[in-house]
């Protein structure tokens, strides 16, 4: 696990790990690096296979954050795990839609919907 402030709140729901972003803005490269390290550790160190990323706190994110999420998606797939994104507000969803990443990621409106059938 990386050093630095925790950027994710983790909760176990059955066999699913819910990782909730604590930042409103995911912009700064240093923060994105910390978030990335914490996300990757879930797969690579803790061996979690079912992960839901909860965006309910997130008001802004940049393309640098998108890059980290893409790498996370690859790592989950390589570990034969499952990744879902949820509770993304419309402005942020538009960022995913413009870049067509809504085709790459499994995205649900709510946490409940993301947990269902994962």
């Amino acid at each position: 696990m990386s050093t630095g402030t925790r950027r994710l709140e983790l909760e176990e729901v059955g066999d699913v790990t819910v990782a909730k972003f604590t930042d409103k803005k995911i912009l700064d490269e240093g923060n994105i690096q910390i978030i990335g390290n914490q996300l990757f550790a879930l797969i690579e160190e803790d061996g979690r296979q079912k992960i839901v990323l909860d965006f309910s706190n997130v008001e802004y994110l940049s393309s640098a954050a998108l890059g980290k999420l893409i790498t996370m998606d690859k790592k989950v797939k390589a570990a034969k795990g499952k990744l879902r994104l949820c509770a993304i507000r419309p402005d942020i969803y538009e960022v995913f839609a413009i870049t067509k990443l809504n085709k790459l990621f499994d995205m649900k409106d709510t946490l409940e919907a993301a947990l269902a059938g994962l």
């Binding site: 802004y60 940049s62 393309s63 960022v95 413009i98 870049t99």
Partner: protein, 141 residues
């Protein structure tokens, strides 16, 4: 159209400094009652453009600077961002939405700027971006 606000500034090649300018510009928009959606788009475009200038243009070199000029009128905002790098050709930037590129982590910044702003263009050298946004006008792209 008369300007409500106008400023230009040279900033060090540092993303924290860039974010302060970003905040200054978005605050000007908020003070003048621009819609939240416009503020969101301009903030994102500024973030992407300034990071591009610092990281790709000036290649993170600490002795280089970035020039930011901003003009705000009642219904339009224009921002010009110039770095001291060698520039690039827009046509050589791969399309991140192509199937082969979709899973690559980089290359989305310019696409987001183009989508959220109404006006977008680089100088011939490729080190100066001029971008503009009209109040309440979504991009057709």
């Amino acid at each position: 159209m008369a300007h409500i606000a106008q400023f230009d500034v040279w900033i060090p090649n540092d993303t924290a400094e860039a974010r302060e300018v970003q905040e200054r510009i978005v605050s000007l928009m908020e003070q003048n009652a621009w819609p939240m959606r416009d503020c969101f788009g301009v903030r994102l475009a500024l973030e992407e453009a300034l990071v591009n200038a610092i990281k790709h243009g000036n290649r993170m070199e600490p002795d280089k600077k970035v020039h930011v000029a901003c003009e705000l009128s009642i219904d339009e905002i224009t921002v010009v961002i110039e770095d001291q790098g060698e520039g690039f050709k827009l046509t050589e930037v791969p399309d991140p939405t192509e199937d082969d590129n979709l899973e690559k982590p980089g290359g989305r910044g310019i696409m987001l700027i183009r989508s959220f702003m109404n006006g977008f263009g680089y100088n011939d050298k490729g080190n100066r971006l001029t971008m503009s946004k009209k109040l309440g006008v979504a991009n057709e792209e």
